[in-house]
Structure formats: C-alpha cells, structure tokens
Amino acid sequence: MTDTTSTTQTKKPPTGLTRTIYDWGTSLKSPTPYLMTFGIFLWIGAYYLFVEGWELPRFNKLPGPVEVITEFLNPDPDWGMSLFTAEFYDHVFVSCRRILIAFAIATGVGVPLGLFMGWSKTFRDYSFPILETLRPIPILAWVPLAILMFSGLETPVIYLATLASLFVTTLNTLLGVDSIDEEYFRAANCLGSKPHHVFMHIVVPGALPFIFTGLQISIGVAWFSLVAAEMVSGEFGLGYLIVDAYMNITYVIMVIAMLTLGFVGWLSSALVRIAGNRLMQWRVRALALEGR
C-alpha cells in the first residue's frame, strides 16, 4: 500500500477534460464496452427474430425493432410521433419536470427526516411506526386519495411520485445513520464535539453512501409511480402516451415511449450516481483500492 501511494505522489493526476479523455481511453482497453455493445445487439437481434424474423405466436402482434427504429428516426412519421416531432418532446419534458419536482421534494424532506430519525432516539420512536405502516401501501392504492385531496391533473401525479420516492429516501437515510460505526462517534466525542458537530461531521457524511444508494432507488421508484399515475390520470407524459397509444392501436408509439422511459430513467440514475461520487471522494478512493 505504501508503494502505490508514493508512486501516485510523484505524478500529478490529470484533471477536467484531459482526465475524462484519459478515463475513456482506459475503458476502451477493457472488455467492458465491447461486452456491453455485444449484449445490446444480442438483445435487439433476439427481438428482431422473435417478432419480425420468425413471427412467433404471441410476438407477432408486436411492432418489431426495424419498424420501431424506422418510425422513431422518420422526419415525417406514419403514426405522428418520432424524434423529429415537437409532440414527442412535450411528453418527455412533462414527465421529466414532474420527476424533477417529485424527486426534489422527496429528497428535501426524506433526507433530513431520515437523518433526524437516525440521530435522535426520541424522534425515531415517534415517527418510525408511522413510516413503517405507510410505506408498504402500494402506490396505486394512494390514487383515489390523491385525486380526492388535490384538484387538477398535475398535483395528484406529482404527489404520488413524491410519496413513493419519499419512503425509500427516508428509510435508506435512516439505515445510513445506523450503519455508522460507533467508533467515529466516540472519536468525535473524545475530540470535544458538541451534538451539532457530531451531526454535521459524523452523521451526515457517514450516512451519505446509503443516502445515495437510496436516491438511486428512489428516482427509479419515482419514475415507476409517475408512469402509473400518468396512466390513471393525465393528458401528457410518457405514461399517458403509452396508454393512449395502446387505446389508439398505435403500438409503435407505445414501444417508442417505453424505450424512451428506459433511457431517461437510466440517465437520471446515472446523474444521481455522478453527484454521489463527486460528494464522496473518500469512498471513490476506498472502492478503487478494492479494485472496483
């Protein structure tokens, strides 16, 4: 371990764009990107053969990859929706805005809530039973309540997405505080910390790894419940688009909306992961030493 640390000392690590290019270069030398590409093509190939090639029963009603991709890249789409129509972006934008609002509220409330629950035994005793009772209620069971409580179309949808993501964030943050080793609390106390110091320097940073794991799950859950909510009530958004396309028998649009959802969802959790790594340099180093 001494050796590795002293060699990095002599050579200054590159930063910014140079670093990014360097990292890309290194990753091209590993099998990972090639395996990923191969995996994607394998999947698309199977999809093509099942649906368009062999036209297997059960699959033959579905739009195949060729049909979907042609339509998606068509400047003048047959079914009225592709990468070149403003309507497509309207739906994506509406869903993303809802997710952003829901995720922001859920994080803004859930993280502090979880931190306090983990930190204060009294507060935890008050709030934990309620959290544990409300949390298992499936998000679809909240739909009637959401419609009763909130007027309009926008608020109930955001409310449902927020709720689902809030429970995940809170619970993970709470577990994050629980996961902190007692030794660090002792060390901090020994060094003369007041309770607010312990909170700021031990509880918050110590819980961060769990918080970010929680946020990655919670943004996924937010998408999940958003789409469910959009399917039930709404006139825009990707979830609505899927149901609408199904009703109108425009199955190609349905698949386009599904794939878009997958892509946007993946992008959003990647952003959360990047934010987490920026905030937790110590953990990035720790994982790097373990060869991950």
């Binding site: 000392q9 660090y184 002792r186 020994c190 110091h197 110590w282 953990r283 180093r285």
Partner: protein
C-alpha cells in the same frame, strides 16, 4: 525542540497531570444475570510517567478504558483527573483505540485539525501549522491529503497519534494501539512511541496484552487480576531511559518478565478453572 519550549512556556503543568481511580466497580447485565467485570479497582497514573496495564485476555481492560475515557460510568467509585471528577468524554483525555478510529471521510490533515477547529480556541492557521508540524514529526507530511483508507496500518496509528497530540491532552490513553500490526511495524511503532514519550513526558496510560511491549515501554507496570478485575500487583520498571530494544535482553528485563509472567499465568489459570466450573455447573 521547538515543541518542548512552547509546551513548557504556554502550559507548564500539562504534562504533570495525575489520574486516579478510586474503588471503581462496573457490572453488566440485567437483574437475572449479572456479570461483575471490575470490582473495587484502585490505581494511580503518576504524572509524567508511562504506566502500562497488562492483564489476562478478557479481563475487562477495554471496559476500564471506556470508563476513563468517559464513554461509560462506573457503578461505584470515582475517577479523578487532577482531583477533578470525570463524568463525560473530554479533550483533556485522548484515547487511541484498538481499531483505527480515524474518520474515513476526512483526509489525514482534516482528521488532525478536527478537534482544535471544533473548539475554536486557536485560529485555523495556527492549528494547520501545528498539524503540519506534527504530521511531519510522525512522518506523514507527504500523506496529509490522503484518506485514512489509503494509509497502511502503521501510518494510520501514527496519524491517530498526531490527532491526539494536537489537542494537548492532560493524559494520553492508549488501548492496545499496536494490536493487529505485523511484527515489524509493531516494533517500529513501539520505538517511535517510546521516543515520543521520552520527548514530551506526558502522563500516559498504555493498555496492552503483550508483556514484552509492556516492559519495553513502562515506568510502572500494573498487572490486573482475572475477573472481577482489580489490581493484582505493581512492578516498577527501573530500566534506564532512553530505552532501546537491547535492554529487553538484559538480566533485569528478564527478571521483570519472569515475575510478570508468573503472576499473569496464575490469573489466566483462574479463568480456566472458572470456565471449567461454570460449564460443569451448566451440565
């Protein structure tokens, strides 16, 4: 050199502290199953001395450290630091633990400046200058921007020493600090530690289960009895200072070692028999 001067001019008495434990008892368990860990234990850690505590394994050494650190309170008796009763953790006593307790999300330097910056009794620049000086002293100047996980075991121990020393505690408490290090690092750390002590002569309580380590370091060796723990015997180690490893092969050191081993063996045998008795009773 500089240190000693500043230490002596600013805080003339800070290495002349006395730690006293008077009739300490500590029991764990509920009303059906009580286990008396420490019973009526009294000892004094003399000012500017390195007092080493050894005892058979499982005799409650860590419980004792927790009491002195203020993480736990005795059921009876009191602990006095310069005649002031100890009730809570405080920066007048610095504990270096068995396992590393460096805060993983702070760099080495951040760990060292953490205590003084919380209290704000010195400016951040003063603290950082002092931290750099201490890190240099423990040979970690190059590693101050590294996170604890990037340091080797021995380096972590030294970083922890620096983090403790910057707080100018009245007494240093070391709870088996070199446990888990490989033999070579352990020897180097012992040598480093004994130099450090001889330089600043700060009242020090060192807990270990290694008898050679104890004799090499100690001015006074306190041997604990088996559970319920109390002081079994005290040996004054009159090897000259500065210490070096050759002294461990001197006839005096051998005699100390033999004496201590004999007592420890006797105590360890008691715990053996007690286990026999209790398992027999269980059957």
């Amino acid at each position: 050199m500089n240190t000693q001067q500043t230490n002596q001019s600013n805080l003339p008495s800070d290495n002349k502290a006395t730690l006293e434990l008077r009739n300490i008892s500590r029991t764990f368990g509920d009303e059906w199953e009580r286990e008396e860990i420490i019973k009526d234990l009294s000892l004094t850690v003399n000012p500017s001395q390195l007092t080493v505590i050894v005892g058979p394994s499982g005799c409650g050494k860590s419980t004792l450290v927790n009491l002195i650190a203020g993480f736990d309170r005795p059921d009876a008796g009191e602990i006095l630091l310069n005649s002031k009763k100890i009730t809570d953790p405080g920066n007048d006593r610095m504990v270096v633990f068995q396992e590393t307790a460096l805060i993983p999300w702070q760099t080495t330097l951040e760990n060292v400046v953490f205590g003084p910056n919380l209290r704000g009794d010195r400016t951040a620049e003063e603290v950082e200058a002092e931290a750099n000086r201490l890190l240099d002293k423990v040979g970690l100047a190059e590693f101050k921007e590294k996170y604890p996980i990037q340091l080797s075991g021995g380096m972590q121990r030294r970083a922890e020493l620096a983090r403790a020393m910057i707080n100018n505690p009245l007494v240093m408490i070391m709870d088996e600090p070199f446990r888990g290090l490989d033999a070579m690092s352990r020897e180097l750390m012992q040598e480093f530690f004994v130099r450090l002590f001889e330089e600043n002569q700060k009242t020090n309580l060192f807990v270990t289960s290694e008898i050679e380590e104890a004799i090499y370091l100690a001015d006074r060796l306190i041997i604990l009895s088996n559970r319920p723990t109390s002081v079994r015997s005290i040996i004054d180690i009159e090897l000259p200072r500065p210490r070096d490893f050759h002294m461990l092969s001197s006839p005096e050191a051998y005699e100390y070692k033999r004496e201590a081993m004999e007592i420890l063996h006797e105590e360890a045998m008691k715990s053996f028999h007690r286990e026999d008795n209790s398992s027999a009773a269980a059957e």
